[in-house]
Amino acid sequence: MKIRAKLLFNVVISIGLSSILSLSFAAAIANLQKETEYHHLAMEMNQAVFNLNILSNDYLAFRLDRALIQWDEAYHSGLSILGEIEDTNKTDHELVKDMRVEYEKLSILFNEEVVNYEYEQKLINEGATEEELAVVREFQERKISQLRIASQAIVSNSNKLQKETQVRLHESFELNKKTSILVLSILFGFIGVSSIKLSNDISTPLSKLRSSVIKFGKGDLSAEAPVETRDEFGDLAKNFNDMTRNLQKYENQLKLSSETLKRAQEIAHFGSWHLDLVNNHLTWSDEIYRIFGLTPQEFEASYEAFLEMVHPDDKNYVDITYRDAVKNKLPYEIEHRILRKNGEIRIVHERGVTKYDKAGNALSSTGTVLDITERKMAENALSSSNDALKDKVEELAHANAQDEAILQSIGDAVVACSSDGDIIIFNKAAQELTGYSSEDALGQDYQKILHFNEGSSDTPSPDRILETLKSGNPALTTSNLNLVQKKGGKVPIADKTSPILDSQNKVIGCVIVFRDISRELEIDKMKTEFVSVASHQLRTPLAILFWALEEVLGEESENLNTKQKDYLSKALKANNRMIKLVNALLNIARLESGSLGLHPVPTNVAELVQKVIDDKKFEDQDHKCKISLNIPKSTLPVIEIDPELITEALNNILSNSIKYTSSDQKTNDIAIEISINKSVVEISVQDSGIGIPKENQGHIFEKFFRADNAMSLAIDGTGLGLYISKLIVEASGGEIWIESPPASKGSKTGTLVTFSLPISGSKPRKGDKTLA
């Protein structure tokens, strides 16, 4: 409980007890008054009865009418006193009742006496005898005596009443005295006990606190006040303990930071000093001793000791600098050498500032010393390496200029942009081709400068630079691309867009190289025209020869002898080869120029292959090959390819297989297999023919190439079939390769030609649909 609450409790109890005391006093006084009044009234009653006695005696003695009236008055006054007694004193009820009976009897007796007296007078006046008078007088005497007795009875009652009240008064007084003593002793007792308790409550914690404070004052920060009461002292002790704990914490922190400072100074070779100029007392931090090559606190520092440490050549300079600074009241900064005892020279950087009193007298200086020997050494080294660096930079600038010159003189336009799309390189060819100057272009978004259209249309081509920046892959070169120049002119171009990657393969930009291909297109057109005309010119005689020989060997053949027939057959065969050659050349010209259209449609590969086999069987019934087709059990996907072109490609391959297998009569199996390998469908044609010599295998897909063994066997061939197949397969998004002998199939002879087609399908290409 709080002290304040305790005090309040004591006060309340004391007030309560005092109130009880006061109430009992008041009750006693009220009682006293009442009894006093009873007493007083009883006395008055006595007086009244006494008066009545005197007046009745007066009347009896002197027979005065006045006395009679007075008696009556006195009687009534006594009656009113009696009434008052009856009204107030209920305690002595019986006594008062007796008094009233006697008092009323008094009146009756007196009246009877008065009547009797008047009767006596009448008798006297009538002259009655003495005997008669004696009887009357005797009666009178009796009455008077009765009157006296009644009066005495009243007085006696009244006296009794007085006595009673007096006794009660005394009793009441005694009771009051006892009560007062009891209440007072309780009051004093309570106050005494609670005061002792309170003083105890206050003094004990106070003394504990005091001793803790004394301990604390002596520097013992761990001193805690062991007070755990819940009162104000408890609070105070808690606050005190909190304070000591906090102080302890701060002291620990202070210790730590002072330790840290020491350590930091040690690490940084950074010392601090304080010079008391009044007492010439210098204090060095440990690190200064170390910087000076001394053991920390080895001896008492002084300004003179310091100067001793300074390099002899710098001593004067240091002294003057410091003294000037003190004199001029300015902070100072100085770099100088020190000479350690072991002869080692260190370079230090010093700063200092001085404090002055109001009169301007210097009081103390404080400063720092930093060992900068290593830094100075590094600076020197740096300055020499700086020179080397300068040379390197110059060299680099030179190389850069060379690169720049090369870039500028490249015939192709080179434009590079950052990952944000801002142009950072725009070489001379790019300026000439686009019509924009490098000032126009550099720093601009490429979309403002480079505009490409699909062919000669006004449709902008897909933004391949954006695509490259996003994907990080080189963009596919689209054929038929036009550059829109600054002045609106259009130039056909070929371009290559590649990402610029950093060492983490992150796209940091994009480089676009493009060139004007108008001339190339022109040449290409000329070439196409030439091929077209040439093929026409070649075909005309070939057609006539073809038909003529056909006629001769057909309807006219009976007129020919065997030899003639044989010769003409050979001529027809040769002519047919020539026709095929022209067709093949035309196809190549188109495939190479990219003008051959590629129109993918959903195609069932197995059906396509089967059709090629069937056609072949029908077309070339002479061969004795057994062609088998092996289709995987799993469903083959329907893929989007150009069936006409793929038929041509497969036809060429199969023709070769038949051609080079038929010549060998022993083995004549051709196995065609379709399989799925990841994302491609593979079609392979395996023959058991003459195979391809190892040294020729690298050239087998080249134009006009024919293997040595094929040539020696004098088998017809243009050397264009596999080349065309390769062009077609590659245009369709696939690959083609050979294996001879097909080791993977466990064969020792023959050739395996395989080509793949993407399951995702071929990309369509605009152009003429037909092959020649």
Partner: protein, 126 residues
């Protein structure tokens, strides 16, 4: 099939070619008229109104494609049956001819005479 009396106009500058084709067609009892260039061909076509025109492309004076364009401007010529018979197989001519609504486009060297005649006969009876 009654082919008798059906007329064919062969527009071709190469005499040897004319000889072979004319002979073969006449064997089939077809009447064959010939013209040596486009100009002549157009004139004859409009006057003779043949059942089918066999048209070469590379010819002096007027080439086959030009003649075909002119022909298509004529009310009769608009619907006349034309087979291109040429040694050109380049995409350009092929596309142009197709657009001018030809019945077929044949490359001479790819066709045996017999087969060629068969195609012509089938187009005639279409």
């Amino acid at each position: 099939m009654n082919r008798t009396g059906k007329t064919i106009l062969l527009v071709e500058d190469e005499q040897d070619t004319i000889t072979f084709i004319k002979e073969k067609l006449e064997e089939k009892e077809l009447i064959v008229n010939t013209a040596l260039n486009g100009e002549e061909g157009l004139e004859m076509a409009l006057s003779l109104k043949p059942d089918i025109i066999l048209l070469d492309i590379v010819m002096p004076k007027m080439d086959g494609i030009t003649m075909l364009q002119e022909l298509r401007n004529d009310p009769w010529g608009k619907l006349a049956k034309v087979i291109i018979l040429t040694n050109l197989s380049d995409p350009d001519n092929f596309t142009k001819a197709r657009c001018l609504n030809v019945s077929d486009y044949l490359v001479k060297t790819n066709w045996k005479l017999v087969d060629l005649v068969e195609v012509i006969e089938s187009k005639l009876s279409d």
